[in-house]
Symmetry: C2
Subunit: 314 residues, 2 copies
């Protein structure tokens, strides 16, 4: 089916001006800006872990494969440029139909997102085999004049901010999230940011990672964490020992795939962002970097206690 699919791709994947050589050669040639650094990220998504081919719409799966990579480029406050999409297709029909129907549906989800973020689909590899659907996307981007935003620039007393709201992603957000490219570029342009990452494995765990890369600890103000409606919904459904509020907070701290931004900024810049609220999705002050190592929480009553770095451990 590969040959048939490649023909479909040639008809449906638009040629992007950055592609100096089109599909059909041994490799792609991508035009870069004068800035001599290329940002590269790659995500591998597998059936049963990142999606379930038996129940999830393949258009949403295809969209997610690109969106997860866009989120990593956003984490660097970089601009996406060109994606390479490799797919291992099950030889047998799936809930999404024949292998070719599945392939086309994946692209029907992926292409509109590529167009929205002006990303060239510049190459890839397609194979059929006796195994579950595996999608590997590699995304190239370029940094702006402000340079890349990394995890390691945070300093003690920096404020920790997050975009959007967190938790309960399994109810739909893990597929339908907006990669925060525009938000990251705009904040990086307008405000001083010290460090940043995207939240893929849970606020608590990812906070501890950003803090560690910045040689700091992190303190989370648990009562200020923006808990998503979906986290409350999930908590209300669950049979819990704890109360609903605590369970929803636990989802906000520990659920993976929020794909929101976690930023560390000096207090002045952070206060300006909170005052300006320049993002439609909102931006919230959830904690600060501290010189003591480890992850800590500060509750409403002002007490400081260790916080377990809960989250999605691969």
């Amino acid at each position: 089916m590969e040959a048939e699919f490649v023909r479909w791709l040639r008809d449906h994947v638009p040629r992007h001006p950055r592609q100096r050589i089109g599909l059909g050669d041994d490799a792609a040639l991508i035009g870069c800006s004068q800035n001599a650094n290329v940002v590269v990220t790659t995500d591998l998504l597998t059936d049963g872990v990142d999606y379930h081919i038996a129940t999830d719409d393949p258009r949403r799966i295809g969209r997610k494969a690109l969106a997860a990579n866009l989120s990593d480029i956003a984490a660097m406050a970089a601009r996406p440029v060109a994606a390479f999409v490799s797919i291992a297709f099950p030889r047998q029909p799936t809930a999404a139909g024949t292998p070719l129907e599945l392939a086309i549906a994946l692209y029907e989800g992926l292409l509109p997102l590529a167009a929205e973020y002006d990303v060239a689909i510049a190459g890839g590899d397609t194979n059929s085999y006796d195994g579950p659907l595996v999608i590997s996307v590699t995304l190239l981007g370029e940094v702006t004049d402000r340079g890349p935003l990394t995890r390691c620039g945070g300093k003690p007393s920096d404020w920790l901010l997050v975009t959007g709201s967190l938790g309960g992603t399994i109810l739909g957000h893990s597929f339908d999230f907006t990669p925060r490219i525009r938000e990251a570029l705009m904040l990086h342009e307008r405000y001083e940011l010290h460090a940043g990452m995207d939240l893929s494995d849970g606020l608590a765990l990812d906070c501890s990672r950003l803090a560690a890369e910045s040689s700091c600890g992190a303190l989370i103000f648990t009562d200020q964490v923006p808990v998503a409606k979906a986290a409350h919904e999930l908590a209300a459904r669950e049979v819990v020992l704890n109360n609903e509020h605590a369970t929803a907070l636990r989802h906000a701290l520990g659920d993976g795939e929020d794909f929101e931004l976690l930023l560390a900024a000096p207090p002045d810049a952070a206060a300006a962002m909170l005052r300006d609220q320049p993002l439609e999705c909102g931006i919230t002050h959830v904690g600060e970097l501290i010189s003591d190592s480890g992850l800590w929480q500060q509750t409403e009553t002002g007490q400081r206690q260790p916080l377990e770095p809960i989250g999605w451990l691969h």
Copy 2:
């Protein structure tokens, strides 16, 4: 096992000067030369198609995953720079041991090749799932001052040349081949080349592809095709209707994974290459591009007949 494997990687994967940001951030930052074009290729290898985890040494599998990508960069006469290695690991133990043992063995095959070609292992993604081993490698490279070598620059009357010898790759060459990076760079530097590609799906099929991309046809001098010793060995083993010689030739024309270079060059430059024989692996005149479309063969007796574009069809 991912966390444990990532620790192993941090200890064993050397930091390359091209990596402006190391492993541990959301994306890699790769320093590029002033030339504002990046060459990108990607290959996805699956169990049962490109290797058999039950019988093949995982070190050879890991080596092959990188080598196949290096061969694509060689096809563009470009220099490899940085590789991104994503792997979907079976959760259950395989013939190669535990998932962690398998992961380490793959890298033990891949790292020496990366070192030999000065390639940074600059990132990737690792996931465990209920499925067979899938390896996706994306390789970035950069073109030289001579620009990229593509499939589309060939002209009628160009001579077709191949490096090395062809066929019988299943006996070992499909794992142990030398990606022709050095050879491609040297030839591109010293001689005028019009078009090139690497032979991955068989000389006949790949010739027809290069010819089609160059808006030409191709004529193969079947008696001049350099038949590998392994193709003869394979032919001798097989029960055939045809004679051994014809069967060996068929392997040389149709077997995939030669990973040799197919080049189109103007007659003067081609004759100079054949006279100079600048490559240890040898270079052979196997045909020419013609203005008639399609694939043709010319036999010892000088007759011209259509040639079936046999090869590895995905």
